[in-house]
């Protein structure tokens, strides 16, 4: 290997993004392009009694309007996560098939016109009348009817799990922690809204779609429309952020295809920001009730966590909260139960560290409380419960590194010598506190075969291709590095090509799997091509490498040579020219290890936060965050750090700002805009310090890559909540943590009567 893997390489697509030459799905120029606008249902539950489109039809530039009366029927397709490589609709429900309304914002009409503004205007002229029925949109409204589903999360996680006997573990404990938490719903809000441009050429459909998986889009649209896969091509090179809301394929994609078919011209649909709250899933409103039992010396005896959350009328969706929480610590018993409330919302979906982020939040806040109760340092408590095997199976970790994360994170952060007493540090009006939490995220093997093609030209330059897309994570850059190393050529001679379903199959990079699975296929393709050319050389009597053992040959800078004798070999170019070859090509593929691989599979990390809380006003600002992570081999420290930093700041948003709030009277989200749904801005972003701890992992993939997609967010919010406790003495029981939660605890001397009728104040 020439060693580009692991180097700090700047983004290969950076100049295109900065200069504007990188084209996103909403920027593809097609002749005769028309624009679509969805009309969303104005009620949360009921029936459409009439739709009058006459005025809209007459509006200037309108090319056509589809409603449930004229939209063709689509096939029913089950909800299966896109990672698994099949059709992956975000919800089993498809709108505009009948007159029923199940959630506010559900598409009831789609209007197409010759300009975006005209489509938007005509959409306001569609008159829809409803017969409204009562709706349920919150846990509180549906709690009495909650049920335990058999399976959740697209049917591949059981609704409840158990290990050992939790009742016995709690009964035998010296100390118990019992805490209930409420979490506001979250929306992903990537800056690039979901956008589809659809064009038909006879019976062939081309979609330009801002998505996390072009293959999933191809499979889903083909399944819904009953089309051959060979007739659906999906393109997406650049995607402006995703965070899970582009992992599944939502109805608007197929609606756009149907609209283009109806008006017989290409159609673009870009969801307006308001509709981003009702079109592509969300993290469900949820509550978690955790109980811990522990011995006097801090050994866990039992963990029980019961979650309740709101799902849609059609699907049993809950993000799984108990994967990591059941594996992180040695504990003889664990019980996790998901309960669901059927509500008038769309089906929730993967959202930044789905499930595990909040499952770990709850566990890590409870661990902090336990540490306080026992008078043990929070890191020491975790070290007393650290496990070298997966407690669910007894299998050893494929790679670990958690101890190093604690040690090096603590050292960088300056944890040693911390005074554990709350309210022990002050800076003017600010109370200062520090907190930490463990982080972990699953490495899952649910993907199908990954393929890539390596193509080398006789001039020594190469293209390596696979059907993935760049949604800001750095995929294009790291895969160029992997390709160059696999082939043994210089970085500038390798180009990674992606974003087209006509390329070899890659899965949707979700669940932090992208770097692992795509690098495996790219590496295998590049290596296969290198091996092919080495084989040609050693068999060629005119080659200086004739007769050499291929295992002794290394390639660097496009030159094949015996490992310790650089002058011995020849270049790919000379070999290929001698053989009159214009180019050479190989396909590489990778199959994940089986699901019952006898290893525990988690990526580990540790998070630290220093916060400042205004001693009177309760304003919280994060001053510093340190994260130490062990995500296997680091392909590129720059893009890895960027992703981890983004995750940590998303965790800060989850802790302190983000929440979508339901107006139960109207049955819809009350703050569906980026002015009202707060995410951190640059002024909020603290100094973020990241330590990368490389652990060797020979199980997960040929390059030993685990992934950095989600681990940055896991534990981040808990470290902040624990720091808020340390600063103030107040234990947060609700996210986001808000000023109103802190006013009374901060100044118990000011006993002003309060009018809090509802516990959820945000």
């Amino acid at each position: 290997m020439s060693g580009f893997i692991g180097q700090d390489v700047s983004r290969v697509e950076g100049p295109g993004k900065v200069s504007g030459s990188a084209r996103y799905s909403g920027e593809i120029a097609l002749p005769d392009l028309a624009y679509a606008e969805i009309v969303g249902a104005g009620i949360a539950s009921g029936r459409i009694t009439s739709i009058d489109t006459a005025q809209a039809e007459r509006a200037a530039g309108v090319a056509g309007i589809l409603t449930h009366r004229n939209l063709p029927k689509v096939n029913q397709v089950p909800l299966v996560p896109s990672l698994m490589g099949g059709p992956a609709p975000g919800e089993t429900f498809f709108p505009m098939q009948d007159d029923l309304v199940h959630y506010a914002g559900q598409p009831v009409a789609i209007v197409v016109a010759d300009s975006l503004e005209r489509a938007q205007h005509a959409a306001t002229l569609v008159q829809v009348s409803y017969a409204e029925s009562p709706s349920v949109t919150t846990i509180d409204q549906g709690r009495a009817d909650a049920y335990i589903p058999e399976k959740i999360f697209g049917g591949f996680v059981p609704g409840q799990m158990q290990r050992g006997n939790v009742d016995d573990g709690l009964a035998g404990a010296d100390l118990r922690i019992d805490a209930a938490f409420r979490f506001a719903a979250n929306h992903h809000n990537p800056i690039e809204a979901l956008t589809t441009t659809a064009a038909w050429d006879d019976d062939q459909l081309t979609l330009y779609d801002s998505c996390q998986g072009i293959k999933a889009v191809q499979l889903t649209v083909a399944a819904l429309l009953g089309m051959s896969l060979s007739k659906v091509r999906v393109l997406a090179q650049y995607v402006g952020g995703a965070f899970g809301c582009k992992a599944m394929v939502w109805p608007h994609v197929t609606l756009t295809a149907l609209a283009a078919q109806y008006v017989r011209r290409p159609v673009r649909l870009s969801l307006p920001r308001g509709q981003m709250f009702t079109s592509c899933g969300h993290r469900e409103e949820q509550e978690q009730h955790i109980q811990l039992g522990a011995t006097r010396n801090g050994k866990l005896t039992a963990i029980r966590n019961h979650k309740i959350s709101v799902t849609s009328p059609f699907d049993d969706w809950a993000e799984p909260a108990f994967g990591v929480a059941s594996q992180l610590y040695a504990c003889p018993s664990f019980e996790g139960v998901h309960r669901l409330v059927r509500g008038n919302t769309m089906t929730p979906t993967f959202t930044r560290g789905p499930g595990e982020a909040l499952g770990v939040f709850t566990l890590e806040c409870a661990m902090d409380e336990l540490a306080s109760e026992l008078g043990i340092d929070p890191i020491e408590l975790r070290l007393r419960n650290i496990t070298d095997v997966d407690p669910n199976t007894g299998n050893p970790w494929s790679s670990h590194g958690l101890r190093e994360c604690y040690e090096r994170g603590a050292s960088r952060f300056g944890w040693a010598g911390r005074n554990p007493k709350p309210r022990s540090e002050r800076d003017g009006n600010w109370l200062i506190g520090t907190g930490m939490a463990s982080a972990a995220y699953p490495v899952a093997f649910f993907m199908h075969t990954q393929r890539a093609r390596a193509h080398l030209y006789a001039d020594g330059t190469a293209i390596v291709q696979t059907a993935t897309q760049e949604f800001g994570t750095g995929t294009a850059t790291v895969m160029t590095q992997v390709a160059a190393d696999g082939l043994g050529i210089d970085l500038q001679n390798a180009r990674f090509e992606y974003g087209d379903t006509d390329l070899p199959t890659a899965g949707s990079p979700v669940g932090s799997n992208g770097a692992m699975m795509i690098s495996a296929a790219v590496h295998n393709a590049a290596s296969a091509l290198r091996d092919q050319l080495i084989a040609l050389a050693v068999a060629d009597s005119q080659s200086p490498l004739h007769g050499t053992d291929p295992a002794r040959i290394v390639v660097s800078g496009g030159r094949m040579a015996v490992a310790d004798d650089a002058a011995s070999g020849e270049t790919y170019t000379s070999l290929m020219q001698r053989h009159f070859m214009n180019d050479a090509e190989a396909i590489g593929s990778w199959d994940p290890p089986p699901l019952d691989t006898p290893y525990g599979l988690l990526t580990f990390g540790a998070q630290f936060a220093r916060v400042a809380v205004d001693a009177d006003l309760g304003i919280i600002r994060v001053r510093h965050m340190t994260g130490a992570f062990a995500p296997g081999r680091i392909l590129n420290p720059r893009t890895a750090r960027s992703q981890l930093m983004g995750g940590m700041i998303w965790g800060m948003g989850q802790a302190l700002l983000e929440g979508t709030h339901m107006d139960t009277t109207l049955g819809r989200w009350a703050n569906a805009s980026l002015g009202d749904y707060l995410v951190p801005v640059n002024a909020d972003a603290p100094d973020v310090d990241i330590e990368l701890i490389e652990v060797q992992d020979d199980v997960v993939s040929p390059l030993g890559v685990k992934g950095v997609g989600e681990i940055g967010q896991v534990g981040s919010a808990a470290a902040i909540a624990n720091a808020v406790y340390h600063a103030t003495g107040y234990r947060a029981r609700e996210l986001p943590i808000a000023v109103e939660h802190l006013l009374a605890p901060l100044r118990p001397d000011l006993a002003v009567p309060r009018q809090d009728a509802q516990p959820t104040a945000r």
């Binding site: 205007h121 308001g274 009177d616 302190l656 109207l666 569906a672 909020d684 986001p736 002003v752 009018q755």
Partner: protein, 330 residues
């Protein structure tokens, strides 16, 4: 986007005449709120008359020690003007804590006073809203009202006035100069903002087509040392949960002169007159500040989700006054 006409004029009389011609016409200045509302179908003008070329963008230091700010002066220019920074730091601070740098470069001072509320129900045309659609009801009364007002509310509307700089201007007894069909008027700023009462759709005492030409701030020596403190969930680019504009003169340990106004809690920029009266002649100490704050907020009508503002506003007032007495302000 609904089709509408657009005209650009260079003199005030033409602008006024054009807008007066039709009920459905409106002035367009920076457009930082107005264009959004047109896009959202909340405002449905037939004609927008662009007044950005009118010569109304000067910031003049008056010999009296006051200031005259042209209605089309941009927020960012006003925030940096030497006369503002030196004579009225609370105005500069309020401006710099409002919106974002990009918006401040575009938004005008007159437009700032006329900006519409941020109530999400006002901005969503499918929700009931008495301000947008008189008589349709107020969804915020029982809805998600965490950011809504606790002072000056009515059972028709509880939307918070969103401006920061208007809070400072109210504290400073600014005067709004206008020009309309009946000539020029000078409106004391506290009268420029109407309480919602039974007519929340009426926000200002302006005739249709009456144009703001300038904002005049009288000389206010105590404002040379003044603060605008803004408290919010995130550090930037968010409207206030509560904000305080304050100036204070202490003589022999007692409050001799005080200006106090609140943002984020009122249906209009809220001059805290009760608190001011309570403070005069009292020792400049935290206990007096807290008592005055309590008196001001005793008039509050909180709702379950915004009741915290009653307490938060009091603590914010105390913080602002303490900041001034500690000499932490400039």
């Amino acid at each position: 986007m609904r089709p509408f006409g657009y005209a650009r004029v260079t003199d005030a009389d033409s602008a006024i005449a054009m807008v007066q011609e039709s009920r459905d016409s409106a002035f367009l200045a920076g457009g930082t709120t107005e264009v959004d509302l047109v896009r959202q179908n909340v405002l449905r003008p037939a004609l927008l008359v662009d007044i950005n070329d009118l010569p109304l963008n000067r910031v003049e230091e008056l010999p009296s020690g006051g200031l005259r700010i042209g209605a089309l002066a941009r927020m960012s220019d006003v925030a940096q003007a030497a006369g503002v920074v030196e004579r009225f730091p609370m105005i500069s601070q309020a401006l710099l804590q409002g919106a974002s740098a990009q918006l401040r470069n575009m938004a005008s001072m007159g437009g700032n006073l006329c900006q519409r509320v941020r109530c999400s129900y006002f901005r969503d045309v499918t929700s009931p809203c008495n301000k947008r659609d008189p008589g349709s009801g107020c969804a915020a009364l029982s809805g998600f009202n965490r950011g809504h007002a606790i002072l000056g509310t009515s059972d028709k509307c509880i939307a918070t006035h969103p401006s920061d700089v208007a809070v400072a201007l109210v504290a400073l007894d600014a005067v709004v100069h206008t020009r309309g069909s009946r000539g020029e008027r000078a409106i004391p700023i506290d009268d420029f903002f109407l309480l919602p009462g039974d007519t929340p759709e009426q926000e200002h005492p302006l005739e249709h087509g009456e144009l703001i030409t300038a904002i005049e701030i009288p000389a206010t020596p105590i404002a040379h040392q003044s603060v605008y403190l803004k408290f919010r969930d995130r550090e930037s680019y968010e409207f206030a949960l509560v904000s305080v504009a304050a100036a204070l003169r202490v003589a022999d340990g007692v409050v001799a002169e005080v200006r106090l106004a609140l943002g984020g809690v009122g249906t209009k920029p809220w001059r805290a007159r009760r608190a001011e009266r309570s403070l005069l002649g009292q020792p400049a100490q935290e206990a007096s500040f807290a008592k005055a704050a309590r008196q001001e907020l005793s008039m509050a009508t909180p709702r379950p989700l915004n009741s915290f503002k009653v307490e938060l506003a009091q603590r914010a007032i105390v913080r602002a006054l303490t900041t001034l007495t500690n000499g932490d302000a400039r």
